[in-house]
Structure formats: structure tokens, C-alpha cells
């Protein structure tokens, strides 16, 4: 592995290749300790409606700012490009960042991205100077169009959001990696266990963004640590170039000189 194996996104460098969400933790303390244990340097946040005088949003934002990590606002739940664009613009004003994890959801059961709305919203937001990280399917043509629009990284799904299924279509993810060898590719959604993370990092993916796999684990802090280690292991394995699998056995101990050879 190169000495300075750092992830570069939109002119920023990251030592960690794990980004985590901040939702669904059993407590703020569990969230804080999980962020520390994961060693991640950027966390996702969102915007939601709030009644006047409640101030729970301010309290959450103050909590996150004190952790000293970079924030990646999302447009989670947006159903149209128009909703996603307005949400991104509100997020930029509130969080004071050009970064946006762009989601335009097209289907309720799978929360599959609406790639047409995604492209429309990406076009508008890139023009406005946003650093768009588009949550997309594993479609090569969509990937090409998003890069043409100016995206400097892509975030294909492994499986539906929150499903924890791991990689649904390894062929498609390998093809995506092979087609865009120099583009930062971040797996977003569907990772459920550290073994899934190892698998995509071994394929050569650059990073992973996940939430539920940590926040809903029996022990989120320990799971955050496990994911951190898994991503490092997968990254090392990618550089080490795993052996090619075979259909039949091949002895690892030398055959020549085996005791009793040719006696039975």
C-alpha cells in the first residue's frame, strides 16, 4: 500500500475511507463514541421540519460541530430534482458547506435512486458550485453522465438503503470500478457487516458510507471499530492483489518427498 494512501475528494484529503451517518443511534453518547471509534473524518447530516421554539435542531448541530468532523449534508427522502435542489441550497446556508450527498429517491420499496432526477439536480447544483456526491445505482451510463456534468466522485449503492444485504450485484460493481479506474468511487447503502466492507474494498472501491450497520448493531461503538479495521484490511488486500480462485484443489505442501509416496 502506498505510504500516503489518502482519499482525495473535491480538493480535500481524508485519512479515513469510512464515512458514517448520524441517525438511529441509541443515544448521543453512542453516536459520539462510534464516530471516534470509526476514525471517520466526515459524517452525514440532514434537514427536517421543526416547530418554532423547539431548538432541537440547533442543539444537534452544536453537538456535531463540537466533534470536530467535517459534515456532509444529504437530501435524503427528496422525491424530485426540485425538492433536492432546494434542500441542498438550504443545507448550504445552514451548514456552511458546498458538500452535498445528493439523493433523489424514485421508488418506495427499494429507495432506489431516480437517476433522471439525480442528473437534473446534479446539473443545477454543480452550476451553483456544489461538491456533489451523487447517490446512484451501479449503472455505467448514469455514471458517465454524472462525470460529464462535473462530479468528481460517485456513490453507487451496494443494496437498498438500510437493507444490510451487502453487494447485490458484484458483477456491476466490478464493471463500474473497471470503467472508471481513476474516479473516486464510494459505496453508499446496503453494507450490513464488516465482511461486506472488506469485499468492496478488495474490489478497489475508494471508500464506504454507511449508517445503519453501525447505529443498529448490538454494540455500535464496537461495530464502528470493526468497520474501521475491515476497511483498512480490504484496502490493503486490494493493493496486495488477492490470488485467483480455482475450481479444484491444489496442495499447498510440496508433493515431492512425501513420506510413503508410491508405497500404497
Amino acid at each position: 500500500m502506498p505510504d500516503a494512501d489518502r482519499l482525495r475528494l473535491y480538493g480535500s484529503e481524508f485519512g479515513s475511507r469510512l464515512f458514517i451517518g448520524t441517525a438511529r443511534y441509541p443515544s448521543p453518547l453512542a453516536l459520539e463514541e462510534s464516530i471516534r471509534a470509526s476514525e471517520c473524518e466526515m459524517v452525514t447530516v440532514s434537514l427536517r421540519r421543526e416547530a418554532g421554539g423547539t431548538r432541537s435542531g440547533e442543539s444537534f448541530w452544536s453537538f456535531i460541530r463540537n466533534l470536530g468532523v467535517k459534515v456532509l449534508p444529504n437530501t435524503a427522502g427528496c422525491r424530485t430534482a426540485k425538492e433536492a435542489i432546494a434542500t441542498a441550497q438550504m443545507a448550504r446556508e445552514i451548514f456552511a458547506t458546498n458538500w452535498i450527498k445528493l439523493e433523489v429517491i424514485g421508488e418506495e420499496d427499494t429507495l432506489q435512486p431516480d437517476v433522471f432526477g439525480l442528473i437534473e439536480a446534479t446539473r443545477a447544483l454543480i452550476r451553483e458550485g456544489f461538491y456533489v456526491l451523487p447517490y446512484m445505482t451501479d449503472d455505467l451510463v448514469v455514471a458517465e453522465k454524472l462525470l460529464d456534468l462535473g462530479c468528481q466522485a460517485l456513490m453507487p449503492w451496494a443494496a437498498p438503503i438500510g437493507s444490510g444485504r451487502g453487494v447485490n450485484n458484484p458483477f456491476a460493481l466490478r464493471a463500474l470500478r473497471a470503467h472508471f479506474p481513476d474516479t473516486p468511487l464510494i459505496i453508499d447503502a446496503g453494507i450490513g457487516a464488516p465482511s461486506h466492507a472488506v469485499a468492496v474494498m478488495e474490489m478497489g472501491y475508494d471508500a464506504i458510507l454507511l449508517n445503519t450497520a453501525i447505529s443498529r448493531a448490538g454494540d455500535p461503538v464496537e461495530m464502528a471499530r470493526a468497520f474501521s479495521l475491515a476497511i483498512k484490511a480490504g484496502r490493503s488486500a486490494f493493493f496486495a492483489k488477492p490470488m485467483l480462485p480455482r475450481d479444484m484443489a491444489e496442495p499447498s505442501t510440496p508433493i515431492i518427498g512425501r513420506p510413503f509416496d508410491q508405497l500404497s
Binding site: 451517518g21 448520524t22 441517525a23 438511529r24 443511534y25 453516536l31 452525514t44 447530516v45 440532514s46 434537514l47 427536517r48 421540519r49 421543526e50 416547530a51 418554532g52 421554539g53 423547539t54 431548538r55 432541537s56 435542531g57 440547533e58 444537534f60 448541530w61 456535531i64 449534508p73 444529504n74 435524503a76 426540485k82 425538492e83 435542489i85 432546494a86 434542500t87 441550497q89 438550504m90 443545507a91 446556508e93 445552514i94 451548514f95 438503503i161 438500510g162 449508517n211 445503519t212 447505529s215
Partner: protein
Amino acid sequence: MRILVNGLQCDVRAATLGGLLNELGYEDQKVGTAVNQEFVRSKDRDGIKLKEDDAVEIVTPRQGG
């Protein structure tokens, strides 16, 4: 005037978005705003006149994945 605020029907007196935020108790709270799905910058709120059936969104930071 009857408008939608965060998806709920509301009778309000305020004539502008800035006035609406004060009327609903947001005052100095850090919020994001949109009217009819168009983002409105905080500095522009006092100049945005509301009309019947407008849909206003008022959002704040929240946990996200």
C-alpha cells in the same frame, strides 16, 4: 391568510416570510426556508411576500444517514 407551513394548514397574520418566522416563534433560530419549493436565503426573507395557499418549509439540522 391561510397557508401551508411544514405541511400543515395555518391561519397567519404575517405578510412576509420574515414576519411569519417571528409569528411562529422561530425568531433568532437558525433555520432553512423555502416557499413553494424555492429556496429563500435568510437575508431575503423580509422581502418575500406571502400569499394565500403558499407552501412554506422551515427546516433545521437533524441526524442523517
